[in-house]
Symmetry: C2
Subunit: 464 residues, 2 copies
C-alpha cells in the first residue's frame, strides 16, 4: 500500500534492463562466493536414504515425516496422442513454495537482490538464485534449521510494493501439479546484501543469461513474470531485429491475433484435450524397474530416480539425503521467432503435460530430448530447423531446478525463421512479447520452459 | 476472423442492454412454448434407475456406458476451517460441455438467441436457456438422439466473431472440478429462430432477471461472462445509485484496490489454503446412509441424492433416468454493495469449496443455506445484515442447473451497505464491476453464484 512513485513501473523496469554494469565485478563476486561455500553430493542407493522410507504396499518413496515431497506413480490417458497411455514415476509435492526476488532502487535504478546458491543437482555447484527460494517445509521450519534470510518481506508484503505475485507451474513431465508462488517485492528502505547476496540491475542479469548453467531456473521463472518494460524500451533498438523485438514488448504494437483470439484458442485446446491422470503406487510400475538402488525405465530413456547424500556449508540445514530425478540426455528448447508487420512474434506451441494443473500450457516451439525420439518415426515439428538454422539469436545450456533434478540441462535456443503456420493451426500460434506479459499475470498459461526463453529473448535488447 | 464492425463491442453491448422491448411479447411467447412442450418427472429409487448401476465394491453410481457422470465420494481436508475434515457424495463429470449463446445484430442491435427449455430439476418446468446447452456426451451423440440445433456455430467458430470463450467452474459443493465452456458467438448472416427459440436484447433478458425461476443458471453464467458495456453505459444513470453502478463498469473509474492487488490477494489465499481432496467410494461414507432408494445425510442437512425417470417432448432423447442432487433448504446468496468515491463496489468473499479446480474463487459476500447453520454457534458473516436490510436493490429466487439438481433454488439479493472492511482483511475485498469483467476473461476466478449476482446487478441499469 505504498504510494506510487512518479515514473511508471514499466519505465523503471526498462531503465533497469538497459543499465548494464561491469560484468567483471559480478563474476569476481561470484568466484569469491564460490570459494567460500562448498557442497558435497554423493550418490547412495534409494534404500539407504536417511529419513526416507519406501512405503510398504505402494512402494512410494516418502520422507518419514510425511513432509517435503514423495515419489509416486502417475497413470496417464491422453486419447489421440502418439502414445495414448503410459505410466511413470512422478514427484508429488503439494506444498506451494515461495520463489521471491527483493528489488529496490539504488541510485534511482531498480536492482534485484540475487543470491549465489548451491543446489545438489546443479552440474557446476553455485548458481545465481532468487533472494528467497523456500518450500513451505522450509519456511515453517520442518527442517529445524536456521531462519531464511529476507523471507519476512515476502510473508508480509503490506509495507511493500508487490510487482509480481502469481503461482506458476513447473515441469509437468516430472512434477504432479507442482506450483510455486513467484514474487517480486519492492522495498523502499535500506536493505543490506548479506554474505552470498548481491544487488543486480536487470541488465546485468540479462548479460549473464548466455553464460552456461549460471542463472538458475527459479531466478528465471520469477524474472520472466516481471513486466517487460513496454514502450519504454523503444529507444534501445539498434537494427531491424532489435527494433522488432522492442516493439513486441509494446502493448500498442499489433499482434497477428488479438488476446481474445489467443484465450479462445487456449480454451479450445484445453476443452478438446481429454487428459485423465491418476496417482498410484510406484511398486510394479509397467516398464520401470527398481534395481541397484535406482528406479529406471527398461529402455534407458526418459529419467532415473536416484538417491543422494548432501553436505553443505551455509545452508539452513547442513546435511540431508533425498531422492532426485536424473534426466537422460540434454533437451532442446527453442523459440522460432519472426518479424511480422515490424513486430517480433514468437511461435507458441500448446503443449499438454501429464502433471499440469490445467491440461495444457503455452510452450516453446520446440521442447524435446532429441535422443528419446530416435526410435520413433516422427521427428518433433520444427526440431530440424532449430538444429540446422544459421539465424541463431540465442544459444546457451541452462540447468533446471537443482533441488529436485540431478544434472538436468537444456539447450535454450532462439532462432529466426520464415516458417509459415496456418492462422487456425490447432497447435501453434504467433504471439507478441506483450501478449505473453498479459498471460503471465495469471497462473498456468505459460510453461516453465517458455518462461526461461522469454527471459533469454528479452536479454537480447541492446544495453548501453 | 470477421472484420470488426465500426462500433466497439462494448458500445454494441451497452446499446443492447439499454434496448428494453415489450416484456408482454416475451411472456406470451414463453406461455405459448410452455403449452407446446411437456416434461414428466417421477421419483424412483436409485436402485431402480434404468441404465445406471451401483458399482460393486465402491458403491459408486455410474451409467452403464461409463459416460455422462457418476456419483462418488470426496474426502476433504481443510486445516483451520470450522469443519477441518469431512466426506460427502459428489458428482464427478469430467467432460467439458458447451453453454453457448448465439448473438446477431437485428436492426443494428445485438440480440441473443434464447431457448425455452425444460429440465427435470426445474421447479416450474420451462426456463429461459442458452441457445446450446450440451455435454460432450450430447454432442458426440452418445445418447443416439437427434442433432442439437445451432451446435455447429460453437464447434467451428472460424467464420464468426467470438465474444466469450472461457471455461468456468460450477457448484464446488456438489460437483468435483466441473467446468463448462461458456461461449458467446456472433454471426453476421441470417439465422432463423426455430420453434422454442427467440431473439432477445440484453435489456429484455435483464428485465426478466427478477422473475422467479425464469432465467436459468446456464444462461446466467454465459451472459455474466460478456463484457458489461464499459463507459458506453454512462448516459443511462438516473440517480446516485445508478450513477455509481454504471461508473463501476467503466475501466477508467478508480477502484479501492488495483487489479494487481486483487490478483496478489487471490494468490495469497490460494497459497495459504491447504485444501486436500481425494475421490473415493460412495459405499460406507461416514455420516451418510443409503436407504429407501436415496442417499442422505443422517442429520437431514445438506442434500440428498435421488433418482428420477424423465419423459420429455421435443428433446434429443425422449425418455431417460438419472440420479440428481436435491438440496435441503433455499440458499441466501447476496452481494453487499457500497458507493466508494462515486463508484459502486461489491464486497467479495474468497471462498474455498472442495470441488473447485483451483482451491478458491471469488464468491458473493454471503453464500449459505441459513438452516444448515442453525445448529452452529457462528452465524455466517454479513448474513443478518442481508436478512434485515431496508436497502434491498434486488431480491429474487432463481433456480440452479435443472439437469443435475432437483428443485435447487437460491434467493439472490443485492443490498446496499455501510459496512467497513479492513483493506487487508484476509477474506474480503471491495471490487468494481469492471474488475470482475477483467477476471471473467479467465477461468476459475469468479464462482457461479457471483456470476449470477453480477448479472442481477447489471440488470439494475435503467432501461429506456
Amino acid at each position: 500500500m505504498t504510494a506510487p512513485t512518479r515514473r511508471s513501473t514499466q519505465t523503471r523496469l526498462a531503465e533497469s534492463m538497459l543499465a548494464a554494469r561491469d560484468a567483471d565485478a559480478a563474476h569476481a563476486w561470484f568466484a569469491r562466493t564460490a570459494e567460500q561455500s562448498r557442497m558435497h553430493v554423493d550418490r547412495v542407493p534409494l534404500d539407504a536414504l536417511a529419513g526416507w522410507v519406501t512405503e510398504p504396499g505402494t512402494g512410494n518413496l516418502r520422507h518419514r515425516t510425511g513432509r517435503f515431497f514423495s515419489v509416486e506413480s502417475l497413470s496417464v490417458d491422453l486419447p489421440g496422442a502418439p502414445v495414448p497411455h503410459w505410466s511413470q514415476p512422478i514427484i508429488n509435492q503439494p506444498e506451494i513454495g515461495i520463489l521471491g526476488i527483493l528489488v529496490r532502487e539504488v541510485d534511482g535504478v531498480l536492482h534485484c537482490l540475487m543470491q549465489a546458491k548451491h543446489e545438489p543437482g546443479n552440474p557446476n555447484g553455485l548458481q545465481l538464485s532468487p533472494t528467497v527460494q523456500a518450500t513451505r517445509s522450509n519456511y515453517t521450519r520442518v527442517h529445524g534449521g536456521k531462519p531464511i534470510p529476507y523471507l519476512e518481506h515476502f510473508r508480509d508484503t503490506s509495507a511493500h510494493r508487490v510487482l509480481v505475485d502469481i503461482r506458476q507451474s513447473e515441469q509437468g513431465a516430472w512434477f504432479y501439479r507442482k506450483r510455486n508462488r513467484n514474487m517480486v517485492v519492492e522495498v523502499d528502505g535500506e536493505v543490506e546484501a548479506r554474505e552470498g547476496f548481491r544487488w543486480f540491475t536487470l541488465g546485468e542479469i540479462a548479460g549473464l543469461m548466455a553464460v552456461p548453467d549460471l542463472v538458475n531456473m527459479d531466478a528465471r521463472t520469477v524474472l520472466a513474470c516481471l513486466p517487460g518494460g513496454g514502450g519504454a524500451l523503444a529507444g534501445a533498438a539498434v537494427d531491424a531485429f532489435t527494433g522488432a523485438l522492442v516493439r513486441s514488448a509494446d502493448p500498442a504494437a499489433p499482434g497477428v491475433h488479438t488476446i481474445g483470439d489467443v484465450l479462445s484458442w487456449i480454451t479450445e485446446v484445453r476443452t478438446r484435450t481429454d487428459l485423465r491422470v491418476a496417482l498410484g503406487p510406484l511398486a510394479g510400475l509397467p516398464g520401470w524397474t527398481r534395481e541397484d538402488g535406482v528406479i529406471a525405465h527398461r529402455s534407458g530413456r526418459f529419467f532415473t530416480v536416484v538417491g543422494v547424500d548432501v553436505r553443505a556449508d551455509g545452508r539452513e540445514v547442513g546435511a540431508w539425503s533425498q531422492p532426485m530425478v536424473e534426466p537422460v540426455g540434454t533437451g532442446v528448447i527453442a523459440f522460432l521467432v519472426k518479424e511480422i508487420g515490424g513486430v517480433l512474434h514468437v511461435l507458441t506451441h500448446a503443449r499438454t503435460e501429464a502433471g499440469y494443473a490445467d491440461v495444457t500450457e503455452l510452450a516453446p516451439t520446440v521442447q524435446c530430448v532429441p535422443e528419446t525420439h530416435e526410435h520413433l518415426s516422427a521427428r518433433p515439428r520444427f526440431l530440424d530447423e532449430v538444429l540446422t538454422s544459421s539465424r541463431v539469436r540465442f544459444d546457451a545450456v541452462l540447468s533446471e531446478e537443482g533441488g529436485r533434478f540431478l544434472g538436468a540441462r537444456n539447450r535454450y535456443v532462439v532462432v529466426e525463421t520464415d516458417a509459415e503456420v496456418a492462422p487456425d493451426d490447432p497447435e501453434y500460434r504467433w504471439l507478441t512479447l506483450h501478449q505473453y506479459e498479459e498471460l503471465l499475470r495469471h497462473s498456468f498459461y505459460v510453461n516453465i520452459q517458455a518462461r526461461t526463453l522469454l527471459l533469454c529473448l528479452r536479454s537480447l535488447v541492446p544495453r548501453g
